[in-house]
């Protein structure tokens, strides 16, 4: 028997799926990354640390994403919302005479005090109003455990950042066949009055947009390692015509 798929449903006011952010600017892609989804799975399992053995089993498996657009009262699709840029300063307003608070002030690379106090400006990007169905292929022998864990997670699960708490149950079923999964996803979308926006399929195929993502985790923990993955985006017909 081939490896089954889990249907995961990602819905929240804010989501954030970073792929290659460094330093003070934390970006998000417009759809969930494989590293983000597997991070969520590890969280549900309560699996901390490197998890190389687990991750290596997921690395060759498929993951597909369907992105939906919300509709307004007249059943018309809403405009796509721009990314939310959340601005934050870190490390200001601490008392440098207090031994604990001193530690919260950013230091230079040499560990010295920075000129002018050292508070940092950071930018975090979020998707607003986004809804995704994710088809995650999982090793057959793990499917039951994963289904259990996602429904009763060991650690909290969240959509890319800890403050992105889902507004819908994430786990929506195990499917042996992808077309059955897509029927179920379409049913949920209809019940929520959502319209398909685009799909993200793994591999390079005849489609609308090709991306290479460095988002296949090989090792989590202190020293994370990732492998590349090609994906192809397919825009839904309606959007295509509208440009």
């Amino acid at each position: 028997m081939s490896d089954p798929y889990l249907l995961l449903w990602f819905e929240a006011p804010l989501q954030s799926w970073g792929a290659d952010s460094k330093f003070g600017r934390r970006d998000t892609l417009k759809f969930p990354t494989k590293s983000g989804v597997l991070g969520l799975v590890c969280s549900a399992l309560g699996a901390g640390g490197e998890q190389s053995e687990l991750l290596v089993r997921f690395a060759p498996l498929d993951m597909q994403v369907i992105s939906y657009r919300k509709t307004n009262a007249k059943q018309q699709r809403q405009d796509k919302q721009p990314l939310l840029r959340d601005f934050q300063t870190v490390g200001n307003g601490y008392d440098d005479q207090d031994p604990w608070q001193t530690l919260l002030i950013p230091k230079t690379a040499e560990g010295k005090k920075a000129v002018g106090g050292g508070s940092k400006l950071t930018y975090r990007y979020y998707l607003q109003d986004a809804v995704f169905a994710v088809a995650l292929q999982v090793p057959a022998d793990l499917a039951d455990d994963l289904a259990q864990a996602l429904q009763n997670p060991n650690w909290d699960i969240y959509l890319g950042r800890k403050n992105c708490i889902p507004t819908e149950l994430v786990f929506q079923g195990v499917f042996n066949d992808l077309s059955a999964l897509k029927i179920k996803a379409a049913e949920i979308a209809v019940s929520k009055k959502l319209l398909e926006d685009f799909q993200v399929l793994q591999g390079e195929q005849e489609g609308d947009e090709h991306l290479t993502l460095n988002d296949v985790p090989i090792q989590f923990g202190q020293h994370k390692k990732y492998r590349d993955r090609q994906v192809t985006l397919f825009y839904s017909q309606e959007d295509y015509e509208g440009g």
């Binding site: 819905e11 929240a12 006011p13 804010l14 919300k70 307004n72 809403q78 405009d79 919302q81 721009p82 939310l84 840029r85 959340d86 601005f87 934050q88 031994p99 604990w100 530690l103 400006l121 979020y126 607003q128 109003d129 996602l150 429904q151 009763n152 997670p153 060991n154 650690w155 909290d156 699960i157 969240y158 800890k162 403050n163 992105c164 708490i165 889902p166 507004t167 819908e168 149950l169 994430v170 786990f171 923990g221 202190q222």
Partner: protein, 353 residues
Amino acid sequence: MTNTNPLKNTRIEFHILQSFPVTCLNRDDVGAPKTAIVGGVPRARVSSQAWKRPVRLAMQDYGAKLGVRTKHIAELIAKSCLNLGANEEQANACGESIASHISKDTLLFFTETEANAFASYAAEKEFDASKLKDKETHKVGKKALNLAVDGIDIALFGRMVAQAAELNVEAACSFAHAISTHKVANEVEFFTAVDDDPMGIREDSGSAHMGSLEFNSATYYRYVSLDLGQLYQSLNGQNMAGAIESFVKALYLAVPTARQTTMAGLSAWDYAKVLVRKGQSLQASFDNPVKAKGEGYLAPSIEALNADLAKKEQMAGSLFGKQAEIELGNVEKPKNIDDLIAQLQTFLPADAE
């Protein structure tokens, strides 16, 4: 601690509605109140980090004590030795000796409890530094390290020490961004400032400065969850009741400090539905913006929150895992914050208080 965590996968979810008059609780990089688009309409927003910090700092006012991470542990131990009656020379020698056993010029997360424990150990040896053995020191240290006594905020909010992963603590609480339940447009306050003209020089009277600042007014939905299993693990099951008390009190009163001097927007919760649950955490969506209909936003927001949570509970069935539901701000069944804390504390295992 035993191997089984009696609170694993049990969390307290706070669904809070809180109305603010004219405020600018959280500013973006141009000084305007932060916003988000939810359900296709603009909303007022306060980022999670902006609300976590005042809560963390306020916890100190309600009995939570912070730890320190420092290179100066020798001095801290010496100070404790002095308190226990050592003379200065003995205290310094014991401090140096013990510090050398547990740290090699690196930062150490350290608490007053530990300093006192080491000092008592030194006192047992009559403050004779040559009698202090490193193995015994380690035993004393291991026994004394205890977030429950003076590191509760670290257990709650977590910390990441890039250089020493073993010192990392996973946060037990998570905050969502607070988002208004209704459509909000920021407003611009135009203001002028008048010169007092102390020298009587000016012939015309009028403003000497003009400026503008943005503000809004909103009823926020705040979702905060406290993972009791994680807290139990980080605190070794100790002082859970105290942690919950200081956290809930701080959560109730602490408000972001931005523009409080000009706008003084301080409000506590208007309404809260507190759930003790197992299963996946779930926040309410308020995807459909609440309308005031001439009666303000609070009443329809309470209605919408309860409808949303009831629907989620009904649809999730057994997965909802509800253990308890406590309501604060219900006029017919009034309860206060102390009732809430007391009721939450009943969920703790007998040995965790």
